[in-house]
């Protein structure tokens, strides 16, 4: 057993090529991940692809230049510089084409990078006897044959790019997030853009020798994308993307060792699987989380039914347990259980010695829904629905309990007191708060109020602004409001008048006129 572990995990580490691959690969993958964060947040993923391909022209020109001018073959430094120049030129051309033409940026990227890539291809075949570039290597990379120079290049690129990002974190963050604001405080956004592009070019160029031109894009964006799904802060995303890059190399290299496949492919494959794993289980933006959210979603209708049931019981001072609530509410027991759980979380209900009761907030919510329900019933009756269907339809419609909608119903129906079944509709307790200015028509018997606004054309002598009165009993059919101005003086208003007058509400002297409209705290 121990031997197996040794052979599987430790033995590969004894090989120098594996050590070099691990070191070089990790350096490159880490910096790829970090810079990839900016690449995906700026929606430049396609540009990464372009940069890596454009290199071919740069590498061959660099090779050719040193070969023809100095007679040095395969000079690594010049090839690297050539590649970076080619990448920057490509970016410049892309910018130029999208600026001067009506083409969008992705189109100009597609045009320019294939063009520069093709130029490289032509160069390679034209000078086939001078240039000895292994095209297969260029496409596939060879992480398991990393040379010492590659390691140096990787180390220098990695350390310098990471330092630059660390130093210029704020300008990079701000230009990525809000370029206009960045410009307004004097950050040179074009310079920052070029800095980022050049860094990306360096990173991509040094990545190509490890995993090849196609797969380097995967190393650039996949770890960053995985981190994006997990982080709500850019600084953490950068760190995590770097870590994901390193784990991809680690996992990929072992994979390559065990099943004996190409290192570059194994790394990127591992990276992709890692991403899929994150996508599945990410706590907030993952698929599993989304599925759980959908599964745990409680139909609003059930919550409303529970609220109303609890209100009904509470008004008769009956204590109910969670079990009894399930029996009272006409909905699947599981759903009611979940609804109660959710309501606990929102502090709409509280449990006291096994008994479930509404909190002050829950009571408020329940009364709002009851009011909406009864107004909807009244409305449906008003538009001619048979009375045996009223309840079930109102049950569905009561979820429209938005303040404005309910106020509309109330005012359209003439502020009714009772629903078609004869139950009292709770008053508009949201607006009827002492000190508020409301339409007089909202007031019910027992309220005291002062006149605030009185349209001139209304003939309601002797009512005047500033006059204090008590509301007397309401007449129905047609609705009439009685105002008691003093012991012996009363006036009666019709609906139009009551709607037009605005008053400041004071306390009501009927604290509990009917069971269903008990005063709140």
């Amino acid at each position: 057993m121990n031997e197996w572990i040794y052979l599987t995990f430790a033995e590969p580490l004894t090989h120098v090529y594996f050590q070099k691959a691990l070191l070089g690969g990790s350096l490159i993958a880490a910096v790829c991940g970090v810079i990839g964060c900016f690449v995906i947040l700026r929606r430049m993923a396609f540009l990464g692809d372009a940069l890596s391909h454009a290199m071919l022209a740069g590498i061959s020109s660099g090779y050719l230049f040193m070969q023809l001018v100095f007679g040095i073959r395969a000079h690594a430094g010049s090839m690297l510089i050539g590649a970076v120049i080619a990448a920057v030129v490509t970016v410049g051309l892309v910018g130029f084409v999208s600026r001067v033409s009506r083409l969008k940026e992705d189109t100009s990227i597609g045009i320019m990078y294939t063009g520069v890539f093709a130029a490289g291809g032509v160069l390679v075949s034209l000078f086939a006897d001078q240039i000895h570039i292994d095209l297969l290597h260029f496409f596939m990379g060879n992480v398991l044959a990393v040379a010492d120079t590659d390691l140096w290049v990787a180390a220098i690129v990695c350390s310098s790019v990471l330092s630059l990002i660390l130093l210029f974190f704020r300008p990079l963050q701000l230009t990525t997030f809000d370029p206009l604001m960045a410009a307004s405080i004097g950050i040179p956004i074009v310079a920052v853009d070029y800095l980022l592009t050049i860094c990306t070019s360096f990173v991509v160029v040094s990545g190509v020798s490890m995993v090849g031109v196609v797969l380097v894009v995967g190393l650039l964006i996949t770890p960053a994308a995985s981190a994006y799904l997990l982080c709500d802060r850019l600084s953490r995303m950068l760190v995590l993307a770097g870590v994901f890059g390193v784990t991809s190399v680690l996992g990929g290299l072992y994979l390559a060792q065990w099943i004996n496949v190409a290192g570059g492919s194994a790394i990127v494959l591992f990276c992709t699987v890692q991403f899929l794993g994150v996508l599945a289980v990410a706590p907030r933006y993952g698929l599993l989380a989304e599925w759980l959210r959908i599964r745990n979603r409680v139909p609003q209708q059930t919550v409303e039914k529970v609220l109303r049931a609890l209100l009904r019981e509470q008004e008769q001072s009956i204590h109910v347990t969670a079990q009894q609530v399930q029996e009272l509410v006409d909905a699947p027991g599981e759903e009611v259980r979940k609804a109660l759980k959710q309501m606990h979380k929102k502090e709409l209900v509280e449990t006291e010695e096994q008994n479930v009761r509404l909190t002050a907030e829950g009571l408020h919510e329940a009364r709002r829904i009851l009011r909406a329900h009864r107004l909807w019933e009244t409305y449906l009756d008003h538009v001619g629905m048979p009375s045996n269907e009223l309840h079930s339809h109102a049950e569905i419609l009561q979820h429209v309990h938005d303040e404005d909608a309910v106020d509309y119903l109330d005012s359209k129906l003439g502020h009714p007191l009772y629903d078609p079944h004869g139950s009292e509709i709770p008053e508009d307790f949201v607006h009827l708060v002492p000190g508020n200015e409301v339409k007089l028509s909202l007031l019910r018997e027992g309220y005291w109020a002062t006149v605030q606004h009185l349209p001139e054309l209304l003939e309601v002598q002797p009512l005047q602004i500033g006059m204090r009165f008590r509301v007397g009993p309401r007449q129905e059919n047609p609705p009439q409001w009685t105002l008691q101005l003093s012991e012996e003086q009363e006036i009666v208003l019709d609906r139009k008048q009551a709607d037009a007058i605005r008053v400041r509400v004071e306390e009501s002297d009927q604290s509990t006129p009917a069971p269903s409209s008990e005063k709140e705290s």
Partner: protein, 301 residues
């Protein structure tokens, strides 16, 4: 000394002189001149493509002008960088960006920070105070995509305040928010104004323009009007700018009494300290319309 003080007080917050900007043969702005006093809440109105965002960029100091200049407190706009804060349109922001509310507010401090130095405790405090002012401290560690529309707008207001800028430019702050949110944003605008800042707001809804702003700028390449809403929302002027595409211009002119009542309410709640510069409205021109007549136009535009 006294004269210098006086001179500084009389320098307008924003002064635009003969500004012409073009992106080709048609000018985006043509010979635009105006000045805005400090402490005003100014609305910029005009049809689509009328040069509103070009004007914003010019005031921010990074739009190259063909001719003319913009001065911020008497100083050339490209030198006054940082004195003007920009609040972007909601649609222009990537709400999935991995960034928290506090981090956005902290961005307001970036202009003052040297690039090698981390934000200090004081910067943090300024950012928190700015969040406090827009009542967003409870959400400081939320990712910005998890906020409601009005909250999102407020975060960017906080960022502008943390910048310490004297002038705030807002690009359509009321676009795509519901009526209650609009009120909440407006409340923040008034509070900012009362604290002495100058606000320039690009606005689309003519129906509310008169009610919200002290002054209006009517723009369509050229400057068609600047001044009180009564003066600018002139039926003939509007029909010229909007080419008769609006049904009724009469309704746009506000009932002065209602507006004043609203103003009183706000100054009561905010205990205005700066009253000297802003209040100069005794011009009760325009037909009187009741609130109910104004409302139907005020729907979602």
């Amino acid at each position: 000394m006294q004269t210098i003080m006086n001179e500084q007080n009389s320098v307008p917050a924003i002064e635009v002189e003969h500004l012409t900007v073009s992106y080709g043969p048609t000018p985006a702005l043509l010979d635009v001149s105006f000045s805005i006093e400090a402490g005003q809440l100014v609305g910029v109105i005009g049809p689509n493509g009328s040069g509103k965002s070009t004007l914003i960029k010019s005031i921010l100091g990074f739009q190259k002008a063909d001719f003319g200049k913009v001065k911020i407190f008497g100083e050339s706009a490209d030198k006054a960088i940082g004195k003007v804060a920009y609040v972007p349109q909601r649609g222009a922001v990537d709400w999935d960006f991995p960034i928290t509310v506090l981090e956005v507010a902290m961005m307001g401090r970036y202009g003052q920070l040297s690039w090698w130095r981390d934000p200090s405790k004081k910067d943090r405090q300024i950012a928190m105070n700015a969040l406090e002012m827009v009542r967003m401290t409870d959400f400081a560690h939320r990712q910005i995509g998890q906020l409601s529309g009005g909250q999102q707008q407020r975060v960017f207001m906080a960022r502008a305040m943390a910048q310490g800028a004297e002038i705030l430019l807002l690009d359509e702050p009321f676009a795509g928010v519901d009526a209650a949110t609009e009120r909440a944003i407006l409340d923040v605008l008034y509070r900012t104004k009362v604290s002495g800042k100058t606000l320039v707001v690009v606005h689309h809804d003519l129906a509310t323009a008169a009610e919200y702003f002290d002054q209006l700028i009517l723009l369509k390449q050229r400057l068609y009007g600047i001044g009180t809403p009564q003066a600018v929302l002139h039926p003939e002027l509007l029909s010229e700018v909007y080419e008769g595409k609006l049904k009724s211009f009469q309704d746009l002119i506000p009932d002065e009494t209602e507006k004043q009542a609203q103003r009183r309410k706000i100054s009561q709640t905010e205990q205005s300290t700066k009253s000297a510069s802003g209040r100069h409205r005794d011009d009760t021109v325009g037909p009187r319309l009741s609130a109910d007549q104004l409302r139907p136009m005020g729907g979602e535009a």
